[in-house]
């Protein structure tokens, strides 16, 4: 299958309709920058996949993506927007495929393009990657690709991706089987634990059962019902539980009676103690009353003394001021026979006498104050003493009363316990009751053990059945675990085997491809010193594909950009020529000679000519008119497979249009022979 024609309408640089009729042999498309050459290659890719791989889908600028620029914009509205491609089959029949903004209308089955059985996943993308060799991707998809991605590219290009899928699936299956196995192990552990538990119960039941001598079960039952006071319609199981409860009650009663016995022994003491406490309390109450009277009297005395003192103190500020006045008067003295305070005329003797009188008044007042203060302090002390006495006696009385209350409470409680237990506070009565209760408990206990022993025999048989079932379940689980372990091992083996087989397949494919790669490398002559190239494959979990020239020189780091492009072209052309699954044999090159000198451009032209000799269709865009002419001369046109040269130009406001189309016919044959 090859490309016959393509028509761009409102697509990329083509505002109006841009029909391109391809030569069945080759087509050289030339034109200046921006004339629309790459738009044709874009259209060829778009018709297959619906997107343009040379732009990253995630590439966003100013909120816009490449998808906003697929179809013509810039204000003008194209008549209609679509890309229509016509393909020619080997039987010369044509089929078409149309892409519009709404989507792709395939027009024919995809199995015309690739082999249904052997194609890789996403075959149309692989087809475009290996048939359309673009300027931007020549080194990006080959020499400049990281070695892991290079391996991945090659792997997908030759259609071995199935093995990767199988390997991954085997890995997933292995992981899942392992997890299932772990879950079963846990289940098995629980089941084994259960088996062990049942076996332990059986052992205990057997021990209990061995204690069952010749027991008259009905008689035992009657006796137990009687002792425990239980209804007669109880089953054996219910009887056992009821007797256990009754036994517990009896033991509790025995403890309570023992405590009551102790209390009873204490009774006489409590009674005597109560009497003494009562007498003491009475005496102390009388003393307390007297202390209260004395305290109140002392309090009254203290209050009166305090009031007298207070009255005297009211006068003291005046005395203080008087003292100050006397002091200043002494200091200042008479002022020219005048009193410094009232300025009256007074003699020295009178002034001194007056000062003396003031001093004496102060001393009299102070003396009185002192006496009153002493009296107040004495009264306060008296009151404090009486108060302390009262408090001490009051505390003592409280203590006595508490003790008395405690003794009375103890007596009361003992009486209550005795009533509850149905006995009197007579020590003999209590002792008798203790003995009786203990006897009943002993009898019940023995009876219970005999009862349990009788039941234990049945229990053993039942437990043995449970044990057998539990063992069978555990055994089944153990067998499943073994199966799962084998299944997991085989899944792991499948994963490892698939990895190995895919490695071998890639290695064999690379080995098979190696002569072609070497030939194309030699033909393109990237480097004058290194005329041959080798590949290297390594890695186990992740795989890597690298190239080497000379003595293991990595061309990625030693070749110039032009040399890397030439090497990249050799690799991509080798892959293109070796795809077993692809029925589309057209090679499309978009400006492959960037950064390549004239010498190597000539080699490329020769390589393309050799590819044409295989009958492949070649479509090539170049900017340089001289190179375009060279390609037209070298790419071998024939009557069956003609060549076409198309020159494009960009018309402002209109977009890309065809400037010139020239048919390239075959060259004359046998010129030398006809000479």
């Amino acid at each position: 299958m090859r490309l016959k024609a393509i028509e761009l309408s409102g697509f990329r640089g083509a505002r109006e309709s841009l029909p391109i009729l391809f030569g069945s042999g080759f087509t050289i498309i030339t034109g200046r920058n921006g004339s629309g050459k790459s738009s044709i290659c874009d259209a060829i890719e778009f018709i297959f996949t619906g997107h343009l791989s040379r732009f990253s889908a995630g590439d966003v600028e100013g909120g816009e993506r490449i998808s906003d620029y697929i179809w013509w914009r810039d204000g003008s509205t194209a008549a209609h927007k679509q890309v229509k491609a016509i393909f020619e089959l080997e039987n010369r029949k044509t089929v078409e495929r149309i892409a519009t903004p709404e989507g792709i209308r395939p027009g024919f089955q995809d199995d015309l393009l690739f082999d249904e059985k052997s194609h890789p996943p996403d075959p149309l993308t692989r087809l475009c990657q290996t048939a359309i060799i673009r300027d931007e991707s020549i080194t990006r998809l080959s020499t400049d690709l990281p070695e892991a991605d290079r391996f991945d590219f090659f792997y997908k290009a030759i259609g071995l991706t199935d093995l990767v899928t199988i390997e991954q699936r085997a890995h997933n299956v292995y992981q899942k089987l392992r997890r299932n196995s772990e879950d079963l192990e846990k289940q098995y552990a629980i089941q084994r634990e259960r088996v062990a538990g049942i076996i332990s119960e059986i052992s205990q039941a057997r021990v209990t059962a061995s204690q069952a001598e010749d027991i008259d079960l009905p008689k035992l039952r009657t006796r137990l019902l009687e002792i425990a006071g239980l209804p007669s319609d109880l089953s054996l199981g219910q009887l056992s539980s009821a007797v256990q409860r009754a036994l517990a009650d009896l033991k509790q009663r025995t403890s309570a009676l023992e405590r009551l016995k102790i209390d009873v022994e204490q009774l006489a003491k409590w009674r005597e103690q109560s009497k003494v406490l009562e007498l003491s309390s009475q005496a102390l109450e009388e003393k307390l009353s007297a202390a209260d009277i004395a305290m109140k009297s002392a309090e009254k005395g203290q209050i009166e003394a305090g009031e007298r003192l207070k009255s005297a103190q009211v006068e003291s500020p005046a005395i203080k001021l008087l003292a100050q006045l006397r002091q200043y008067g002494s200091l200042i003295g008479l002022q020219n026979g005048h009193c410094p305070l009232c300025n009256s005329v007074v003699s020295e003797a009178s002034f001194s006498a007056h000062l003396q009188e003031i001093q004496q008044a102060i001393e009299r007042t102070n003396g009185t104050l002192m006496q009153l203060t002493e009296a107040d302090a004495a009264k306060a002390a008296e009151y404090s003493k009486r108060k302390d006495e009262f408090q001490v006696q009051s505390l003592e009385l409280s203590r006595l009363r508490s003790e008395l209350e405690a003794a009375r409470m103890a007596l009361q409680k003992a009486e209550e316990r005795a009533r509850t237990l149905g006995v009197t506070l007579d020590p003999d009565d209590v002792a008798r009751e203790v003995l009786s209760t203990e006897k009943k408990a002993t009898e019940l206990d023995k009876g219970l053990r005999d009862l349990q022993a009788s039941v234990a025999l049945d229990r053993v048989a039942e437990l043995e059945k449970q044990r057998d079932l539990a063992q069978r379940d555990a055994e089944t689980t153990a067998r499943r675990i073994e199966w799962l372990a084998t299944a997991a091992r085989n899944a792991k083996s499948a994963e490892d085997t698939t990895k190995r087989v895919s490695w071998e397949a890639v290695d064999e494919c690379l080995a098979a491809l190696s002569p072609l790669l070497s030939e194309l490398y030699y033909r393109l002559k990237p480097h004058s010193d290194y005329s041959d190239i080798r590949y290297r494959m390594r890695g186990d979990v992740k795989r890597f594909l690298s190239f080497a020239v000379g003595r293991d020189i990595n061309p990625r780091f030693t070749f110039s950009s032009g040399q890397r492009r030439a090497l990249g072209l050799a690799f991509l052309l080798a892959v293109h020529l070796s795809r077993p699954w692809c029925n589309f044999h057209t090679l499309i090159l978009d400006d492959p000679v960037q950064h390549i000198d004239d010498y190597r451009a000539l080699h490329l032209a020769e390589v393309l000519s050799s590819i044409r000799q295989l009958g492949h269709q070649v479509i090539c865009t170049v900017e340089d008119p001289g190179l375009a002419e060279l390609l037209c001369r070298r790419l071998r046109s024939s009557t069956a497979d003609d060549g076409v040269k198309i020159e494009l130009e960009y018309e402002p406001g209109m977009g890309s249009r065809i400037k010139e189309i020239r048919s390239i016919g075959p060259l004359p044959e046998r010129i030398l022979l006809s000479a």
Partner: protein, 155 residues
Amino acid sequence: MVLFEDDSLIGFVCEAPLQQILSSWGARQDDFVKKNAGTLRKSSTKAWNLYSVFLSGDSPSPDEKKAIISIEEDFHATRKIVQTEITTLSDVTRALYSFIPIQNLVSLSTENTLRTLRARLSSVPTAAVEALLDQGKSDDFVVQAFQEAHETKGD
């Protein structure tokens, strides 16, 4: 000297010692063009595709390599190809790569890989293997197939 022609090119091949080639390539080229000038005029386009091919069994020194490169990069009149160390037929084939079809074509077939894989997995129950290789089945289905295949086998 041997002349050759195909549907797009014309040329000559000659074999000589390297020193002779380096000294006389120009004369030989001019001689060829001159002798066939009339013929070449019949197709001016084909006349652009003239080849002068010089083969030698000698090994070039570094200076001779440099001289060879200069000759090959001279695009005047004919496209020159100078190949040295020609000792075998494959050397000759390589020397003529510029105008012969691609020689080492190969169709990379991956058909046998699944067959090989099946053969290598012969110790794994067949039902499990087939489930694994069936792209239309989910991982859970394959897990189930592995479990059942091994339980059956265990029985």
